[in-house]
Symmetry: C2
Subunit: 199 residues, 2 copies
């Protein structure tokens, strides 16, 4: 098997990062999504749930979607590896199809990375407001009332931040997988060969 060392390293990193994103995103969605706390104020029962804050709803939805997407991509990686192991004699398939797959994986991973970063930032912002309030606007902190719920959301957010960082690395890996197809070592001499790639 004439597999280039760099290529193998990148494949291993990709699978590891996808597992990491899948696990951490699922954990974040589960921690935030299942947390709730009920308290009684003067015989009035009030319940804190993640649906009370739009940002947490987005967080749960985005991380659940990211976890599902990672699972699908892992299945794709496994299928590609199985195909490569079985039919390694036929040269790895057409490069046009390879580029199309790389483009779709790249777009997907970029979208996941940016969306996870954005929803995590928005949820962190909401949580800081919940923890500290905003005295200038007469918004009171609520974590004094719902301590257990706030701790649970905090754990979920830590997991969400880790999932976001992993997805950023993953986006870089899939950018590498895509753009090296447009590789240009010696592009000044044999650059005309790139004319076949469509832009």
């Amino acid at each position: 098997m004439a597999v280039v060392g760099l290529e193998r390293k990148v494949k291993v990193a990709e699978v590891a990062l996808r597992c990491l994103v899948c696990g951490l995103a699922a954990l974040a969605a589960a921690l935030v999504g299942t947390g709730s706390q009920t308290r009684t104020f003067f015989s009035l029962e009030k319940k804190a749930r993640f649906t009370d804050m739009k940002a947490l709803v987005f967080l749960v939805a985005a991380h659940a979607a990211a976890a599902g997407n990672s699972l699908l991509q892992l299945a794709r990686c496994a299928a590609a590896a199985a195909m490569a192991a079985r039919g390694s004699g036929n040269g790895g398939g057409s490069s046009g199809r390879e580029a199309a797959v790389a483009w779709s994986v790249f777009s997907c991973d970029q979208a996941v990375a940016y969306v996870l970063m954005a929803v995590t930032a928005a949820a962190l912002q909401s949580s800081v407001l919940g923890k500290r309030g905003q005295p200038q606007l007469q918004w009171m902190p609520i974590c004094g009332l719902y301590g257990a719920f706030c701790r649970r959301v905090g754990e979920g957010l830590a997991s969400a931040v880790a999932a976001g960082l992993a997805s950023v690395l993953l986006a870089a890996v899939s950018a590498f997988n895509l753009f090296r197809l447009y590789g240009g070592r010696g592009k000044r001499s044999s650059g005309a060969g790139n004319g076949a790639t469509t832009w």
Copy 2:
């Protein structure tokens, strides 16, 4: 001049996107940073400024930094173009230095894109809270009181979203510029040539 068409297109897109990011980020920082509104409630004077919300402070700081960074990068592009025009005979410099520059530009652009997306999401979240409040938490909306200030922040946020999208495209362009250096057309036959690149 044997410049490849794809390479020239990418260069033009890079410069255009950098100009766009610079202008839009500076506009966003200026709109949000200079907005303020003073109102009098029962002889008590109150002033709304962006410093009342942490998320807006981050937004202004990040967009000002992104605009400055874009200016520096534009200067780098101009210097590289001038060098290429003057000394085009010497083959474009060593490829090791080219890779180092591409790595630093790539890291910078990725960081800018993620930071702009994150601070914009956080500021949007804060602004939605400011506009609608959060009745479950007894947080009252404030845009009824400070309408002009809220409109100004809204314009700034629109500009910030546009700057964020431009910086995302720019990050993809600089990923292209970096990773095609590790290009692998025909990597299965002549892949050993990639061994010289350090990972």
